[in-house]
């Protein structure tokens, strides 16, 4: 049985439907992420799991038992808030002791648990400090320690890294993964940052306008987006209008206006219109590419380029009005120079680099 079972949850605010019939089940020990742009309903869903909000329809079950009627303080679920929500009038140690106090635990036991918890997050010497005397990263760790000290069944994290700068965020991401493996507690993580979601999660639910667009492992979501929204939201993606010309079981031929025939993976009914989704890093680019080892091979000119340091992004015009974005690592051996706008180039990609998205 799944740890958390969400069935057809609906939450409306006036005319606005924040969560529109969402279902998912989360297994014990998972690192599960709700990913989507702001206003997609991910935070509302999280608040309903925590108990700060109630659905107008649908069920939330924890271990098979109804959760909706349970008060937030009675749920074995803790939350790490985006603002951390550390109590400013309590010391770090008092903050971490709070959930233990609420359970009516004895003073000595609380003291021992708080001490161990502070050591876990490498803040053993900061117990007597107040939250505003800590750095952002330290506050983050206190918030985690406080939410975990009670060993909840489920930990909810609401964009916990959003307030940190990029360097620190990467470091905290690694800490979070390690922490989750160590404690073995199920994490539900909410973020709008797709790289964060890809890096951290076991599974991701991509949400948009109150619905789940795709629920899968990170690599599946990245490589085989289900629809245009997912392809566009996760990473960068070439999205080119196409129509199925012919199809086998695993390969199909797409017709792209102005460009001609393109091979892609999957199957479809000939005549179906849709979009070819193609990741830029899967497109090879060069002045002269060796004979056609890849199914799709085109000539074009550099329309524009962006030098990013580690890579250069080229926008190649392969036909009137058809642009394909391609990535070239700047470490690529034997590359004479950065291609300039107007240079003639060749691009190619394997048939299985492209996914056809039905409309």
């Amino acid at each position: 049985m799944a740890l958390l079972e969400i069935r057809n949850i609906v939450r409306r605010f006036g005319d606005f439907t924040a969560v529109d019939g969402v279902s998912m089940s989360i297994e014990s020990g998972e690192f599960f992420t709700l990913l989507g742009p702001s206003g997609c309903g991910k935070t509302t869903l999280l608040r309903m799991i925590a108990g700060f909000d109630s659905p107008q329809a649908g069920e939330i079950l924890l271990d098979g038992k109804d959760l909706v009627s349970v008060a937030p303080e009675k749920r074995p679920i803790h939350t790490v808030f985006q603002s951390y929500a550390l109590f400013p009038h309590m010391t770090v140690a008092e903050n971490i002791a709070f959930p233990l106090r609420m359970r009516g635990m004895g003073k000595d036991e609380i003291g021992a648990k708080v001490k161990a918890s502070l050591e876990d997050v490498r803040l053993a010497d900061r117990g007597g400090r107040y939250p505003d005397e800590l750095s952002g990263g330290q506050r983050q760790r206190v918030a985690l320690a406080r939410a975990l000290v009670n060993r909840p069944r489920l930990l909810l994290l609401d964009e916990p890294l959003a307030a940190l700068d990029m360097k620190l965020r990467e470091q905290m991401q690694i800490e979070l993964i390690n922490l989750q493996r160590e404690v073995g507690i199920t994490f539900i993580y909410v973020t709008h940052d797709q790289t964060e979601a890809l890096a951290l999660s076991g599974r991701i639910a991509v949400m948009n306008a109150g619905r789940v667009e795709q629920l899968d492992e990170p690599s599946k979501i990245y490589d085989s987006p289900k629809n245009r929204f997912v392809a566009d939201f996760i990473g960068t993606c070439n999205l080119i209008d196409a129509e199925v010309a012919a199809s086998g079981d695993e390969k199909m031929v797409l017709e792209i206006k102005g460009l001609g025939e393109v091979m892609a993976k999957g199957k479809g009914e000939p005549g179906t219109r849709g979009t070819l989704a193609l990741r830029p890093e899967k497109v090879r680019i060069g002045s002269h590419l060796s004979p056609e080892t890849e199914e799709n091979h085109f000539k074009g000119t550099v329309h524009d380029f962006l030098y990013m340091g580690d890579v250069t992004v080229y926008i190649v015009e392969v036909a009137e009005g058809v642009h394909v974005e391609a990535l070239l690592p700047n470490s690529a051996a034997g590359r004479p120079r950065i291609l300039a706008a107007g240079d003639p180039v060749e691009i190619s990609w394997r048939y299985d680099a492209g996914t056809f998205l039905h409309e």
Binding site: A50, G51, F52, A71, P72, E73, I77, H78, T79, F81, Q82, S83, A85, F87, P88, H89, F98, P99, M102, R103, Y130, R146, A147, N150
Partner: protein, 255 residues
């Protein structure tokens, strides 16, 4: 040039505000029955004050009224402030704030008519009720502004970590808004202790307060005894203002 004008007008405003007060204080030590010219230093008028039974009784009344009214209006005002913050009710802000804007004389007259119509004996009780009525709004405003400065996720975090709504309020919300509550209480105290208009209408015959007593003395003649009691009243108010202005978020946790 404009800086100088600004500075000069600033100084002029303060002189206009504080010079009369300083003169009152100075003449309370004047060894003369008249507030006309400086004769010499004396504690005489303070001694007269201490032997003036009516004055002492009025001072006692004022203190009792101010303490009771500010205590009750702090509790009610805090509740009202919390309600204003928590629930987006359209009529509630009007109900709470209106007494602040309605002219005092109107409040005084209407309270008097109301008390008479319900056969309430005028006296300390009616004064206290009236003071509570106009202090609640002030406390509510101060408390609400304190609440809206608070991170909304704090009480939620307390609930999330196992606190019932009441425990979350007592352990998290209340300590965080305490500076606002104290400031509100001090404000209520100062408003109550020097209120004249509303007290004048609702006092009846028996009870008198300091402002009423001072007024009745002035009707006869301004003796330096009035200066002395005014000076003491000023000191009390000043002390409270200093305390109130020092209450900052940090002071609550003993830093």
């Amino acid at each position: 040039m404009s800086r100088k004008i600004l500075a000069a007008s600033g100084i002029a405003v303060y002189v206009f505000l504080y010079l009369p007060l300083l003169i009152v204080v100075a003449y309370s030590f004047n060894n003369s029955k008249l507030n006309a010219e400086w004769v010499g230093f004396t504690w005489h008028w303070y001694k007269v004050l201490l032997e003036d039974d009516a004055m002492l009784k009025a001072a006692g009344n004022s203190l009792f009224i101010a303490l009771t009214a500010s205590a009750v209006s702090t509790i009610l005002g805090t509740m009202a402030g919390y309600a204003l913050y928590r629930y987006k009710l359209k009529l509630l802000p009007v109900l709470v704030m209106a007494p602040l804007a309605i002219p005092e004389i109107l409040v005084g007259v209407s309270l008097l008519i109301f008390y008479v119509s319900i056969n309430l004996t005028l006296g300390l009780g009616s004064i206290i009720l009236s003071h509570i009525a106009f202090c609640v709004g002030f406390v509510a405003i101060v408390v609400r502004s304190r609440l809206s400065g608070m991170d909304e996720s704090l009480p939620e975090a307390a609930r999330d970590l196992g606190a019932t709504p009441w425990v979350a309020f007592r352990l998290v919300t209340l300590p965080l808004i305490m500076p606002g509550i104290i400031a509100g209480a001090l404000l209520a105290f100062t408003l109550s202790i020097d209120d004249f208009v509303i007290t004048f209408f609702t006092a009846g015959v028996g009870a008198s307060t300091l402002p009423l007593q001072i007024y009745s003395m002035i009707k006869i003649a301004v003796t330096p005894e009035v200066n002395a009691i005014s000076t003491l009243l000023m000191l009390v108010t000043l002390f409270i203002i200093v305390v109130a202005s020092r209450i900052s978020p940090d002071s609550i946790r003993g830093k």
